[in-house]
């Protein structure tokens, strides 16, 4: 099972890298979102995929899954949510300001 998930992570990273390298800003943002999903899966796989109930007291189960990777993932999701939404607002503002979302057209300094 771990192998399968690892391959899935690899596929997600491939997709994300492809999107990141494209010129459209929206695609780049989608790429970062997929990239973060890939690493969340990796975090879960690295903690070991175990059989067990959700680590919550209300479950009253015999054995629980490792809670730490889940806590890490939750935190990472919150952070990537914040970053992605910020990037979306930024992309929108940039589009408003420059009228383009093509990264080849957008250049900061003239003499670069």
């Amino acid at each position: 099972m771990e192998t399968l998930i690892t391959i899935l992570v690899g596929v997600l990273v491939t997709v994300a890298v492809y999107l990141l390298l494209s010129k459209s800003l929206v695609r780049v943002i989608l790429g970062t979102a997929i990239l973060s999903h890939a690493v969340h899966l990796l975090l879960m796989t690295m903690g070991g995929l175990k059989k067990g109930a959700v680590p919550l007291l209300g479950e009253n189960a015999e054995n629980y899954a490792d809670a730490l990777p889940q806590a890490l993932i939750l935190t990472a999701i919150v952070i990537s949510f914040a970053v992605t939404s910020f990037l979306l607002v930024l992309a929108y503002r940039t589009y408003k300001e420059t009228g383009s979302d093509n990264l080849a057209v957008l250049r900061g300094f003239e003499d670069e």
């Binding site: 959700v54 919550l56 209300g58 919150v78 914040a82 939404s85 910020f86 979306l88 607002v89 408003k96």
Partner: protein, 140 residues
């Protein structure tokens, strides 16, 4: 172009309350069951976002005259404040405590300071999410 959205508006008026109730339910069940401040807050804010989608921003602002940035700040203040509260009582930063009380209506109830912390988280999430949506939609 005037879009005819009578059905959406009528449904929304009811559904918003269902979503809000569900959000509160998720928030309260967060102690020992799935749920909690972050998820509850997200569901609550989805209700607000739905309102903004269906009615225009001005109408909703008249109905809900809060500055959502301040709500987010208040939530963060509450969350940090509970952390500092434990310092006042001489235990480590962010220490939480819980105790059982005998309340008149609810009977034997567990009350925990972590609820205050989670309430702070929920308010922050609501404030931040609505602020983000508003800042995208403001000048359309």
């Amino acid at each position: 172009m005037k879009i005819n959205d009578v059905i959406l508006q009528t449904v929304t008026k009811i559904v918003v309350f269902i979503i809000l109730t569900f959000g509160v339910e998720l928030f309260l069940s967060g102690h020992n069951n799935p749920g909690g401040g972050f998820i509850g807050g997200l569901v609550l804010s989805s209700a607000f976002v739905l309102l903004y989608l269906v009615f225009d921003i001005e109408t909703v602002r008249k109905g809900i005259p809060f500055d959502f940035k301040k709500i987010a700040a208040f939530g963060a203040l509450l969350a940090v404040g509970t952390g500092l509260g434990s310092v006042l009582f001489g235990s480590a930063f962010l220490t939480q405590t819980a105790s059982h009380f005998n309340l008149p209506v609810f009977g034997e109830t567990e009350l925990s300071t972590v609820v205050l912390f989670e309430a702070g988280v929920a308010l922050t999430v609501v404030g931040v999410v609505v602020t983000i949506i508003l800042s995208i939609s403001e000048d359309v």
